[in-house]
Symmetry: C2
Subunit: 321 residues, 2 copies
């Protein structure tokens, strides 16, 4: 139809017909069908963001960054949760391929490169966010978890702590692994022995945090500091410590990765490595859009964003024995 030309401003149209068409559109309440358009164009103008849990403030902030950047270019974004499960993730990716999304931002549930390969096989551009995957031929945006953990551990060491429990995430997730690595490096450099019994892996969730804190408290010599690998672990661990009658920071110190926005506003408490979630989302989306529009983008990029180490009230000196 000529209608198509009017709607898309493609081709030349006499003013008269255009007005006639526009009038008809208004009168009939006609709304073009994106499905048909996408089918024909082989492009959906839709991108996806796959995260573990859209309930985590770190990811919601990231999501806003993603969405704002996408909106600016006229793209829609679909959000998916994997709940940190590789099977869930695989299902989600299949669904996204079925929908023929133009690109995917992926916070991988594990470090396997298979999901990335899967998308590439279907010619869907991917940007890996927040975490590493084994294979390296992907665009990616993240912070340096190893360095962050190193600095946070240094901070605790400088305060005099020697028995620092590391409450990390799933051993399959790169951030969890890297944060343990940074922790180890700091200890080793300080000439201290790394005690395997003080390193824990669990879910990136309040429950995971509780369980790990409980296990850590069961050690013969109680740790004087707790390093939580993310905000949810910190929360759970904190609750567990309180229930065990311990005060933070008087009895034990705590430090963690990731801000907890509302908490921070009300009563800034946790000493954290604050990652720039919004910017991470934005940058990742920009990278993806560049792949989609620019033909010549060259090799894959690896963007490492800086973080802030913010010292607050949850850390203090080792209490007198």
């Amino acid at each position: 139809m000529t209608v198509s030309r009017v709607i898309n401003r493609s081709g030349a149209i006499s003013r008269e017909t255009r007005e006639r068409v526009e009038a008809a559109i208004a009168e009939l309440g006609y709304v073009p069908n994106t499905l048909a358009r996408s089918l024909r164009m082989k492009a959906t103008q839709t991108l996806a963001l796959v995260v573990s849990d859209i309930t985590n403030p770190f990811f919601t902030t990231l999501a806003r960054g993603v969405q704002d950047a996408a909106r600016a270019e006229g793209f829609n974004v679909i959000f998916c949760n994997t709940d940190e499960s590789e099977t869930e993730q695989a299902e989600q990716l299949v669904a996204l391929v079925q929908k023929r999304v133009d690109g995917v931002l992926l916070v991988p549930a594990a470090s396997s490169a298979e999901p990335v390969a899967y998308l590439k096989r279907h010619k869907i551009p991917v940007v890996v966010l927040d975490r590493r995957v084994e294979d390296c031929l992907v665009d990616s945006v993240r912070c340096d978890s190893e360095l962050g953990a190193y600095q946070l551990t240094r901070l605790l060491l400088d305060l005099g702590h020697r028995r620092i429990a590391m409450l990390s995430g799933p051993a399959t997730v790169s951030t969890a692994v890297d944060r343990v690595a940074g922790y180890r490096r700091a200890l080793t450099e300080a000439g201290l022995e790394v005690v395997a019994g003080l390193i824990f892996h669990g879910a990136y969730s309040p429950i995971g945090g509780r369980q790990m804190a409980q296990a850590a408290l069961a050690c013969t010599r109680r740790p004087t500091a707790f390093f939580a690998a993310n905000n949810f672990i910190a929360i759970g661990a904190y609750q567990q410590l309180r229930e065990a009658g311990l005060r933070v920071p008087e009895d034990v110190s705590m430090a963690t990765f990731d801000e907890m926005p509302l908490t921070t506003l009300i009563e800034p408490f946790f000493t954290v490595v604050a990652q720039p979630a919004y910017e991470m989302g934005q940058r990742a989306m920009q990278l993806l859009l560049a792949r989609l529009t620019n033909t010549a983008v060259g090799e894959c990029q690896e963007v490492i964003l800086p973080f802030d180490l913010i010292v607050r009230r949850s850390t203090g000196p080792v209490p007198a024995a």
Copy 2:
């Protein structure tokens, strides 16, 4: 093709051909195209949730409820933010119609019934969530804001407060209006005069909260209690009070609507009317799905869910003058 029958398990197929087809599918990495399917079927198996800000924990929790319920029935959900703007909302709805979503869950940016009518005109079922709209012929799920506000105000009155500042949301939003109404009723029933100068309307955001708190503090006789209409307002107001050198609850009391999940876990502080966000999302989705599948659902339903009034540390008696 026969392929379609294999994939959809429709019609009868010999085991041999089925296996042959399945083998080919696996080998080629074939993934069916949802766009084409939806175009043909005139159904997308996709629903939408439109909220003001997906960053607000109240809405993320609600979103999880929505999504979990949808997933259970094989539906996908698209999330949209309106940032409390009617124009944004209108744009989002057009986009959703273009995408031919099968249904919409709407947290309306204003109480105008026009957006609902628009969707109905396009034969898209709607469930209105959390807020009222003027016209009533829609399914809806929410809590009784008037009652919640009434009880919260009563609580403050019982503690002896007489000058209670009401920091509410936009006057165009039903929850903001209803919460003011509940506040007024409590005062009136207690035989107190409602001071117009103590009722404020602003954005449902930390900034809004700050501004209203500032204005309230400028009153000749300072309020002894602050009633925030939602969590974001509470945060902003709290910050403003702190900066003014006031302690909560020693100098002033605060009460609010909506939990702040992480905050609550760490250091339960605010006295709140806690709405069951997750259930609200779930119920709304169930209602929508009923409309979509069941043909005979009868009249529109209005589900009012109960809330919890939780008393915590942010409220206390009026300090001695």
